[in-house]
């Protein structure tokens, strides 16, 4: 057996040809040959000397129908794959694809028996869920003729409320990713599931004999009840087997903090809808955290002034106030009314100081962080918190150490928030453990050669285990390594067996949301390749290879619900996308926390000492989305960086260390070194460097390979996300980074109108009158005819968190290509919708403003009159339309567009990535059939999702009624977690959009130009504490140019 396995490892190097063709030639009988030939006459042809001699080998060869080696191909599956491969290689070689050949005849046959509800051209929606970090988000997936094309949120799902985040939006591209692993691989050679089962079943008896000793299973965080059930029953069968869990962006600190505070594992869920004062301690609750889409909605619902229908203040509750302390600028800091940059390792000190102020007994009074916090700031925060007992909320970031979480619980407890804004529930995870300890235990047992068979279910530990653990080194000591994953990735490469995992849209399963609500994951499409699920793999491990994931999931729920009513409940759960009554029960906790000095993470480091914050990336997360082009090209909310991670430094630290943008710096700690380009970001904490995880992949595919640097190398085997004692050394080299926005300041142009709540209450019409939509200006031209519908949009800048979900939603809906790093560097990104980011105030802690900008659909559109061929025209409903077929590509319209929202196909971008129909036919399935795919040389831009408008209009026409308000939801609007985007008919004075346009906060971008944009904005309203800020001014003084020059993109 051992030998066999060794051979397996060698299979990566193809073995010498072992067919039985004997190369030693049979000595020829020359005399016979000559006589035969001399006797032959006329039309006797001979093929070769073998034929003439009539050697037995030749006769044997002739008598066989197939060559001897072909016996290997008799296995049907293998023969089929052979034929497929041959067809593919012939296809690749150009046979049959030559332009001079006729297109093959294809028959189009209608259904004999049409499936119910299945109308070609009309999409169907199915409920399912995706997971991030194990936690589910409910989705409704649009399916065209059996192929999923677009993802929407499930309004009935607690974690979605109808919206999604950028990751869920982009996951549809991962389904069709041509780089996904497509076959079972044995030592890198193509194999089959059947062969894998054979190999596995050979292992099982021995394993059973030892009670499973030597078997280890490594999963990521598991919330799936079915998978947990399977794992538990497997462990019952094989009690000596081990189940390890490791999630690279894990919640160990949250778990440990809860255990420290309450003595047991509990999950906290937050009620932002009840909170009036919120303090975020390095907590990015608006994105990435389980439940963050819901949190963002609830948080912003308490902030939007636009929701105040009628006279101001009628909703009865005050606008909430957010204080944020951040080590690296994030969405919370942008949204916050007061933000302070602070090194991640100082937040513990701050939390202790605050806890002390609020009457919690803390270990010691020595709090260096307090010196960084202005006294007035702390005083205002403390008084705000104290005056909002039960309606305040303090939340700590997942990267902060357990003690900060425990202190946060203590603060919330002292403010009577527990049970009000913070609810503790039974853990959602199937098996909450200290995952880092779990992984360390696995490494220990691998090192001790105690692991005989390691099954890695998802995850990519070889890439994302902390560098300090040396996972890779010990992984190779395991005798038999099986890896289930969607890509043939770093871990697969050194595994004996690689099993392609089915995408979540291809597989049955289930998962629980942040609040425990379960969703049954139903597939939208049969696996495109030979993808398998963890359920099937585990079933095979338990000796039931015949079970499909569908049966396993049904079995589990049958066990839970019983046979009665099962089908009904099953159908209901599938249809709704949530399993009723599965929300976790509130869990009453005991208080058991006393702060001890020893509980602090480490002696507070010297200030000169640099820390590195290894946080998940806002677009590729922990690296699992590295091969997703939409996410790679998605500008990171604050840095606007694409295709790379960078060592983010504050302006002051950059000055001290003498680094500027694009400089390659060497970060080293404990003998581990990473070389990353530096990027200066205003608002970053001094002496703190942020380096996002998820980059530096080597085996992710054509998109992710070689993008950025691998930050996991620096990661220590400690749960907090930051490491101190890092040395930074400039290398003198440069690496160009591609950003989508080079300029930081509004140049005093008042592009984002800003005000404070007090200002607004004092003077509701404070918004600069010149930025209002001018009405009835004299014109020589005839007015457009009034039509029944006049489409318009309002974007509430107070509610925009800059989370990017809208951009990806737009990209998915409208078949927008990606262009690659080099092209982004040139400024040719194709996003129809972008989020502009501007700074106001000082360099070290500026206020940041987001402004989503797409085509404004101007009533006086400057683009329309300059197009020589009439390729961009105005519809009678006020849409500024692009006629792609008519466009010749002069780009005059783009030059004349003051908002620069037009995008040009400079190259055939899909072909540049091998993403066109010829090279990656699978991507054809991804395309939204309602939207034209644009060719090279054509201008394109936001259409207000005209395909959706027309769909609703047709529907309304069929029912002989006007289009209802809210019936048309644009892609960006649908994805927005905070409902900051509102679209509708402005002619209908009752519509939501028309009412918002009446708001005193409504203004037009560049209104002076009299373009009369149909998209308008609501001014950004902040709610600063009156003690901390005098009446704010609306004008935005430009940041001093020389200071900004150093920070800005500058030369490439």
């Amino acid at each position: 057996m051992t030998d066999d396995v060794n051979n397996l490892a060698d299979l990566r190097h193809p073995p010498p040809d072992c067919t039985d063709r004997s190369d030693e030639s049979v000595p020829l009988d020359w005399d016979t040959l000559r006589t035969r030939l001399s006797g032959a006459g006329g039309r006797t042809f001979w093929k070769g000397l073998d034929e003439l001699t009539e050697s037995p080998e030749f006769l044997d060869y002739v008598s066989r129908e197939f060559p001897r080696q072909s016996g290997e191909w008799m296995d049907t599956v293998a023969r089929r794959s052979f034929l497929k491969l041959m067809a593919a290689s012939l296809g690749l070689a150009g046979v049959g694809l030559g332009g001079c050949l006729r297109q093959p005849d294809e028959k189009i046959v209608p259904y004999v028996r049409q499936p119910e509800d299945f109308v070609p051209g009309n999409p169907l929606f199915f409920a399912t869920c995706t997971t991030l970090g194990g936690y589910a988000m409910g989705l409704l997936v649009e399916s065209h003729l059996g192929r999923p094309t677009k993802i929407e949120g499930n309004p009935d799902h607690p974690a979605s409320l109808g919206a999604t985040d950028a990751f869920a939006q982009a996951s549809i591209l991962s389904l069709y990713d041509p780089d996904r692993s497509q076959t079972v691989l044995k030592g890198g050679q193509i194999s089959t599931w059947g062969e894998f089962l054979t190999a596995l079943s050979a292992e099982l008896p021995a394993l059973r004999g030892r009670d499973g000793k030597g078997l280890a299973i490594l999963t990521e965080t598991v919330t799936s009840p079915t998978l947990a059930g399977q794992l538990r029953s497997l462990l019952k069968e094989l009690p000596a087997a081990k189940w390890h869990q490791y999630e690279p962006v894990g919640r160990d600190n949250v778990r440990a903090g809860a255990k420290r505070a309450f003595g047991e594992y509990v999950d906290s869920i937050y009620h932002f809808d009840r909170a009036e004062v919120v303090l975020a301690l390095d907590a990015e609750f608006l994105t990435g955290m389980p439940g963050s889409v819901r949190y963002a909605r609830h948080f912003m619902d308490r902030r939007k002034l636009s929701r105040r229908d009628g006279p101001a203040g009628a909703t009865g509750h005050a606008m909430n106030r957010l204080y944020a302390i951040e080590s690296t600028p994030g969405l919370c800091g942008v949204v916050a009314d007061h933000r302070l940059p602070m090194r991640a390792d100082r937040i513990e000190g701050f939390a202790r100081a605050l806890a002390g102020e609020l009457g919690v007994a803390v270990a010691d009074g020595q709090v260096p962080a307090a010196t960084e916090v202005p006294a007035a700031w702390l005083a205002a925060l403390v008084s705000d918190l104290k005056s909002h007992r039960g309606t305040s909320l303090v939340i700590a970031g997942d990267g902060q150490p357990a003690v900060v979480h425990a202190l946060t619980h203590a603060i919330n407890r002292s403010l009577d928030n527990l049970g009000r804004t913070v609810e503790t529930i039974e853990p959602v995870e199937a098996e909450p453990v200290d995952q880092l300890a779990s992984l360390r235990a696995l490494v220990e047992s691998m090192r001790a050669d105690e692991v005989d068979l390691l099954v890695v279910l998802g995850g990519n530990p070889l890439y994302n285990a902390p560098g300090e653990l040396d996972f890779a080194k010990y992984y190779e000591q395991v005798r038999l390594r099986v890896h289930l994953s969607e890509y043939f990735d770093e871990t697969s490469f050194v595994s004996h067996w690689h099993i392609p995992a089915a995408h979540y849209l291809e597989s049955w399963g289930d998962a629980r949301a942040f609040d425990g609500t379960a969703t049954i994951q139903q597939p939208l499409i049969a696996p495109l390749y030979q993808g398998r699920t963890a359920h099937e793999l585990l079933a095979s491990l338990s000796g039931h290879p015949e079970l499909t994931a569908y049966e396993v999931v049904r079995q589990y729920w049958k066990g839970r619900w019983g046979d009665a009513d099962f089908e009904m409940r099953w159908q209901r759960a599938l249809h709704d996308g949530v399993v009723a009554n599965t929300k976790a029960q509130p869990h009453n906790v005991m208080w058991s926390f006393t702060d001890r000095a020893s509980a602090s993470i480490s002696p507070l480091a010297d200030h000169a000492d640099l820390e590195v914050n290894l946080c998940p990336d806002p677009t590729v997360w922990d690296g699992r989305f590295a091969n997703n082009g939409w996410l790679q090209e998605l500008p990171k909310p604050l840095t606007k960086l694409t295709w790379d991670n960078a060592a983010i430094v504050s302006p002051r630290t950059a000055e001290r260390l003498g680094v500027s943008n694009h400089d390659l710096v060497e970060l080293s700690r404990g003998g581990r070194t990473v070389r990353a380009p530096a990027w200066i970001v205003p608002g970053q904490a001094d002496d703190s460097i942020s380096l996002a995880l998820g980059y530096g992949r080597t085996r992710s595919g054509r998109i992710g390979n070689g993008a950025g640097v691998n930050a996991y190398i620096l990661k220590t085997a400690r749960p907090e996300w930051f490491v101190g004692g890092v040395e930074l050394k400039p290398t003198g080299e440069r690496r160009a980074l591609a950003v989508t926005q080079n300029h930081y300041s509004m140049e005093g142009r008042g592009l984002v109108q800003i005000g404070t709540l007090t200002q607004f209450e004092h003077d509701p019409k404070f918004v600069d009158a010149t930025s209002r939509h001018p009405e009835n200006l004299p014109t020589l031209y005839p007015k457009y005819e009034e039509s029944e519908n006049a489409w318009g949009m309002v974007i509430d800048q107070t509610a925009c968190t800059g989370c990017n979900a809208c951009i990806v939603a737009c990209q998915a809906e409208n078949n927008i290509p990606i262009v690659g790093k080099e092209q982004v560097g040139k400024g040719r990104e194709m996003h129809w919708l972008r989020i502009d980011r501007y700074y106001k105030g000082g360099l070290d802690n500026p206020e940041t403003y987001f402004q989503p900008v797409a085509c404004m659909h101007c009533e006086n559109a400057p683009c329309e009159l300059v197009c020589p061929v009439g390729a961009t025209v105005h519809s009678h409903e006020g849409l500024n339309q692009m006629v792609y077929n008519r466009c010749v590509g002069t780009r005059y319209c783009s030059n004349n567009c003051p908002y620069k929202v037009r995008r040009f196909n400079f190259l055939n971008y899909d072909a540049e990535f091998g993403y066109d129909g010829d090279q990656a036919p699978v991507l054809k399935l991804l395309r939204n059939p309602d939207v034209t795919v644009r060719s090279r040389g054509v201008m394109e831009k936001c259409t207000y999702c005209i395909q959706r408008i027309n769909e609703s209009k047709i529907e309304a026409q069929k029912q002989n009624r006007p289009v209802r308000d809210g019936e048309i939801v644009t892609a960006c609007q649908g994805a927005c977690p905070t409902r900051a985007i509102v679209f509708g008919n402005i002619r209908d004075s009752e519509s939501q959009v028309a009412r918002l346009k009446e708001s005193p906060l409504n203004y037009s971008l560049l209104a002076q130009l009299n373009t009369l944009p149909r998209t308008t904005y609501l001014a950004r309203i902040r709610n600063p504490h009156p003690d901390l800020e005098g009446p704010a001014t609306t004008d935005t003084p430009p940041i001093h140019p020389t200071a900004m020059d150093r920070v800005e993109g500058g030369e490439r």
Partner: protein, 464 residues
């Protein structure tokens, strides 16, 4: 050479000239004029320099064709053009070439109508230069289209798609302006060539050349009736061509002025562009005339008088241009429009400030040398000034097109523009096309109008 120096001592005696330099060195007869000019085409050995020059130009032309093939295969993404700089080198080159193309018509038509006889020696190659420059110019708008294969959609032609150009767009006017200009320039140039083609037909000894020149001469026999009709037609054509001098570049200017881009949206653009075009056209004529008269010994026909007059026109139009620059700056301040103001500040102090100041140095400072009569009479100085203006006018278009676009209304979209090797290949390659045509012209056609020079001989004699 010494001969001509001797003649120069007789300058003061030249009877016709009110200034001291004649339009035609004295001592020429009908025969000597005809001999000397037609010999360049018919009998004289082609100088080695011609082969070198033609060879280099032809290589550059091939580079142009290669770049164009690659462009068609890949798309205009091979250039540095991007968003927001949707127009860059190709449009800069287009406007530059169109500007250069202005001198020819101006010299042929307007100066003819104004009876400026000194135009005679330079009009032929100025017209040829115009034609070639328009050819170069016309290529760029086609190449810079995203889908160049459907360029004809800009033309109003009946089609089954039932589509029509959008006549509010200045680009449509542009198509007409440039095509008309090319057509009229070609006809005018050809009409002017007819009597000379007949001369070549009569003087050549090669049968092949006789046939070709003969066909091109359209049966010209030089009868009095021919001359009578010819002169009338030529004058009429000059009348037709005159408005084009104004219209073409005005319309090119409207490509910019009709847009709302700060830095483009200016009513002064049309006159200012026309002045600039004449300025750059004369500079290019001068750039070509100076080496040509030296290499082919044409100092007798293209005299210092011509160079002096051209220098004066350059000075005059340069002053108009300087006024234009000043008014642009003044209005950006006076308008109170922050975007206009920013554009001016960005031109002078932004990342491309070098190009703005180089433009001021080339187009405003350098031509001031021409106030001095002695410098106007110095051929090297004139050549340097003309070259500076060629560069300066190219930079002017760069400043207008690229700097205005790279930072417009929303700072979030601001970008830098960096040309690629293909941008440069296309520009240098278009110079190759221009000079290839020019070298062929010099070799195959009389570069100075023989019959008009003969008239000049007649007139100078008659008055003498």
């Amino acid at each position: 050479m010494s001969d001509s120096h001797d003649r120069q001592s007789n300058i003061a005696m030249a009877p016709h000239s009110s200034t001291e330099v004649p339009m035609l060195e004295p001592g020429h007869t009908y025969g000597s004029v005809t001999d000397q000019i037609s010999a360049i085409v018919l009998t004289r050995r082609t100088p080695r320099g011609w082969f070198v020059g033609f060879g280099i130009s032809f290589l550059l032309l091939m580079a142009f064709l290669y770049a164009t093939a690659y462009l068609f295969a890949k798309g205009i993404g091979i250039w540095g053009t991007t968003i927001p700089i949707g127009w860059a080198f190709p449009i800069v080159n287009f406007v530059w070439w169109v500007g250069i193309a202005h001198a020819g018509t101006l010299i042929s038509a307007i100066l003819l109508l104004l009876r400026q006889e000194w135009r005679t020696s330079i009009n032929r190659f100025a017209e040829a230069m115009t034609l070639f420059a328009v050819s170069c110019a016309g290529l760029f708008p086609l190449l810079h289209l995203g889908r160049p294969w459907v360029f004809y959609w800009l033309l109003p032609y009946p089609n089954t798609m039932d589509l029509w150009p959008q006549f509010r767009s200045p680009l449509v006017w542009d198509v007409f302006a440039v095509l008309t200009y090319f057509t009229v320039s070609l006809l005018f140039w050809y009409a002017g060539l007819i009597p000379d083609l007949a001369t070549l037909r009569d003087r050549t000894t090669s049968r092949f050349a006789q046939i070709v020149y003969g066909m091109l001469a359209l049966g010209w026999r030089g009868s009095a009736a021919h001359w009578h009709r010819y002169q009338t037609a030529y004058l009429l054509m000059a009348g037709l061509a005159t408005p084009l001098v104004i219209s073409v570049h005005s319309i090119v200017a409207m490509d910019f002025a009709a847009a709302i881009v700060p830095g483009w949206h200016t009513t002064i653009f049309p006159p200012y562009f026309v002045a600039g075009a004449i300025f750059s056209g004369f500079a290019m004529v001068m750039t070509l005339a100076i080496p040509l008269r030296a290499v082919y010994g044409l100092q007798d026909f293209v005299t210092m008088r011509h160079l002096d007059n051209m220098a004066k026109i350059i000075l005059a139009t340069g002053s108009i241009l300087a006024y234009g620059y000043f008014i642009e700056v003044f209005f950006s301040y006076y308008s109170g429009n922050p975007y206009e103001r920013y554009v001016t500040i960005n031109r002078a102090l932004g990342p491309y400030a070098w190009s703005y100041w180089a433009l001021i140095a080339c187009n405003i400072v350098t031509p001031q040398l021409l106030w001095s009569r002695s410098l106007r009479r110095s051929v090297p100085v004139l050549f340097v000034v003309a070259m500076a203006i060629n560069v300066g006018m190219w930079l002017e278009r760069f400043v207008i097109v690229v700097i205005s676009l790279h930072r417009d209304f929303l700072p979030s979209s601001w970008q830098m523009y960096y040309p690629t090797a293909w941008d440069i290949t296309h520009f240098v390659g278009s110079l190759g096309l221009f000079f290839t045509l020019l070298f062929l012209f010099i070799r195959l056609l009389p570069m100075i109008s023989i019959f008009e020079l003969r008239e000049l001989v007649h007139e100078t004699e008659g008055e003498g």
